[in-house]
Symmetry: C2
Subunit: 615 residues, 2 copies
Amino acid sequence: MNEALLIAATVVLLAALLALRSRRGSGGQLDSSYDESEGERRLHKWGYSDTRFEFDGPRSVRVTGSRYPLAGYSLPFFVPFAEEVLGVPITPEEMVPEVERGPLPPGRSCEAFLDACRQQLGEDHAATDDETRLTHSHGQLSVDEIYRLLYIGSLPRVADLVVFPESEDEARRLVSLAVEHGVCLVPYGGGTNVSGALSLPPAEERPIASVDMSRMNRILWLDEDNLQACVEAGITGKELERLLGERGYTTGHDPDSVELSTLGGWIATNASGMKKNRYGNIEDIVVEATLATPAGEVESRRPTPRNSTGVAPRLWLFGCEGNLGLITKAVIKIHPRPEAREYGSLVFPSLDHGIRYLKALRREGALPASIRLVNNTEFRFGQALKPAPSAGARVKTAVQRFVLARVKGFDLRNLAACTIVMEGTRRELVWQKRIIFSLAKGFGGVSGGAHNGRRGYMLTFAIAYIRDFLNQFHIMGETFETSVPWDRIHDVTGAVEEKLAEQCRSHGVRGTPYLSYRITQTYHTGVCIYFTMGFSGKGLEAPDRVYHDVEASLRQAILDHGGSLSHHHGVGKIRAAFLPEVQTEASLKILRETKRAMDPDDVFGIANGALAADR
Amino acid sequence: MNEALLIAATVVLLAALLALRSRRGSGGQLDSSYDESEGERRLHKWGYSDTRFEFDGPRSVRVTGSRYPLAGYSLPFFVPFAEEVLGVPITPEEMVPEVERGPLPPGRSCEAFLDACRQQLGEDHAATDDETRLTHSHGQLSVDEIYRLLYIGSLPRVADLVVFPESEDEARRLVSLAVEHGVCLVPYGGGTNVSGALSLPPAEERPIASVDMSRMNRILWLDEDNLQACVEAGITGKELERLLGERGYTTGHDPDSVELSTLGGWIATNASGMKKNRYGNIEDIVVEATLATPAGEVESRRPTPRNSTGVAPRLWLFGCEGNLGLITKAVIKIHPRPEAREYGSLVFPSLDHGIRYLKALRREGALPASIRLVNNTEFRFGQALKPAPSAGARVKTAVQRFVLARVKGFDLRNLAACTIVMEGTRRELVWQKRIIFSLAKGFGGVSGGAHNGRRGYMLTFAIAYIRDFLNQFHIMGETFETSVPWDRIHDVTGAVEEKLAEQCRSHGVRGTPYLSYRITQTYHTGVCIYFTMGFSGKGLEAPDRVYHDVEASLRQAILDHGGSLSHHHGVGKIRAAFLPEVQTEASLKILRETKRAMDPDDVFGIANGALAADR
């Protein structure tokens, strides 16, 4: 009787607390998911220089600055969690400094090209200083690029100069000049690529000019009647949303990298956004786009809604990975900012319950803009990033746990959680919520409140900084993703877990490897699984090499169990060797001949995917 | 006072009648939109030989057979309507017979190829008789192909033989044999193409073998876990739906030609289905597809939900129009048959009211599977296909008209109407209906009842037969379509109307040209407009030539006013000359070089679109 009373009381208390929470952070205000303020980009590392994880006590960390909701709070649980899952100490004493870098060797001579650029484009349209060259010689591939640069000290090839076109006309002239002077051009957008697509080919004998597109960042026209806009390709997601927001519009494209990555980069990588259920992936968002190639302009002259006019040239742009030309602009769909946005969250007894729920939800006609499901490890990772709780919050957490474990019978080491973002008209959201939450009950799901949904969604933007924090302890980490049919989800995740453990054992890795994952997107025939992996490289003879081998073996395990080569990160360099498992020999040959037709001199010699050097 | 009473009484009566009607034909039973029974295809003309329009009295027609809901009824309004809009007499006395056709000239010699086919594929896998050759030498392009064949008497080039592969392996062997023997192959699906894509190039010196894919019509596997199926490309829509229906599934792909057209044809043309709002167009439905080219197989080896693995080879298949190889199979999305289907209709005071409604509806999150808007002429065309009414129906029609005209203030010569098909869960349909009908009020829309919605949707399948009826009076008719941004709809339709009148005047066409149109699809940035046009060719010296010139001038008017070259019919031969207005020179050159990479000997020499002979 006593227990029943206690349960009743706690349920009432919990309901009151959740109701209170739901009112905050919900209510449909259309705050942005990230700080819209400008900021200086951090050299080489992820993101903005005002933001980093740092110790604020021997066992606790904080995020500097004020850019993200996480910033400013002391986070006492993160270091203990990381130590627990990685099995290695994370203390200020364990930190190792970055290597000292001397000046770069001088770039390959390309005086004539440089002069022509400065003359035809403008004096400040080219740079040859070390810092600019080096930052344009890598993306954000965690180990092969960032860890190697910071802790091993070198990149195999560095750009010889960087050029900055400011208009489509300048971009076209650059291409002509490169043809004329025998220079290799590498398109550079936000520098956030994580597939090695920005790693410069070591064997490239010609001068390499990185083409920084960041000054091509204007909205050329905005067509409110037809809900489309023509935008230069160098614009970042953040700037695009800011400019559109001023006019009352949004693209709805929200990749994890949205603050930094660019429209051109999204197209070249075939990007996916978190809210694709409502707004589509990049191939759905882009109506037309323009590619400046040495053979001329590839585009369709009229942006019309949908066509049957033969094989569409625009299709060459999606996934071109810098191989074919400069993406200069695109006509994209724009949406009036939705009347309402609400967050939600659900907790399920297990990942499998959540997966079955996600599949069932697709048949109900009420898909929210975003719904993501984290596995138990990733759930605990998210919990570990909570600030030190107040006394009230401690009570609340204890009550929540009690209810989940004792009342609902959840195993806290087995549960999984969904974060949900709904956007639309107010009445649409009423309908969506009714379906989403009533359906969840049939799969053992209970609401975790709007606040946790919002927090989970926002966390995405801040956690990328953790890699750079952990690198300081020689912990190498990376995310990787795949798309898999529904019935292969457990196979693929199981195979990756097993293979990672086996590989780390056989390579003599210290501690235990970390692996968590979430389902970030659902489709009719399956899902995208997004993995986060990390392990200590300390004591390994060639940690970057080991990491690369481990990652390749995980990719093979994914392919062997029915996953794809990539859902949205791309092929780049690190997955090029797997392409023949995915595409036929004829397809690859035809892709290479199409490239030759566009770029007979291989001006765009970045050699990604089907154009990789070993092909 | 008297009038107010009368109005009140008629409204009550009308409501009762509409309610009665709504119960019939609604209620969510999942009847197919067409008769699923097999039937013999009519030679050359559209559809099945059991169905045709014929006179059943001096001024009335009926549809033979029992295949379509329209069949068996006497239709007394159609001939008067046609005479009114075309301004020419349509009487049994005006009918002209088809030309007599003698035997075909013998085909080009290809004995060695024929022998090899019979030996390697089977004796009955090839045919050289006249009837088979001739039926495989055209599509359903109304004037250039059908009218010319039936009333002028010749086609510029006829296939020399027809081959019938029965498996992917046989298809591959056919391609090898064609390379070896210097034979030109032309893929042939349902023969429903209306862009001249099946017209054989007159200058082709090699023997032409039409590759009839109809025996490759099996579902190779059906994956219920992941809601996808692998299907041979020669299957017709009707057969595909029948086989999937037996297992409880549907593709939801419902082009007007669904009974006859094939999976391979849909891909090659980049087809669109009436229910694309729910199920997508063909590029959304197909997960992977296989193209057998002389350079080898183009396909991705793993059907996974969505990828970022470089430029996707599958994209070459959409819109390839027979130029690149044989499409042998595809993995497609399948959907459990929806829990419910309901029809609806709306009447608007004008087309513009309807257009603004369609645009607004897209923002409400409750798009029905299909919603189509007919202009006033097309509305009256639909009315003209109603059977002779019973006394009760006459009263009802009079009441409806009275209410529309006197109570609602509609101008019967200006109104426009929507037909609606909703599919989904029962509660989804409740939600959709609430949004759809409540939103319509704000645009002056009133419900026309479920019965009229169903009838309007079904009519699509029967009206194609009208062309062949009217041809007998030398009335040449055709449909053509375009996609246009929202703000260009009136410009485009106005320009087409004006240009048609002007052209017919200047060519000395008798009577008046007929033009009606409907909006068949809506997209974020615009719509598809589907035109129906016809005029009398009687007395013209070269009616087919005049028709072609008129159509080309309408296409130019469409392009000049912001429409696309085609929404779903394709480029084929008749629109190839316009391609340089739509694609850049570089794009067309690269397309041709891609073709060369796949098919260096031009085995697939059908020369459509960018590969047209004059390029």
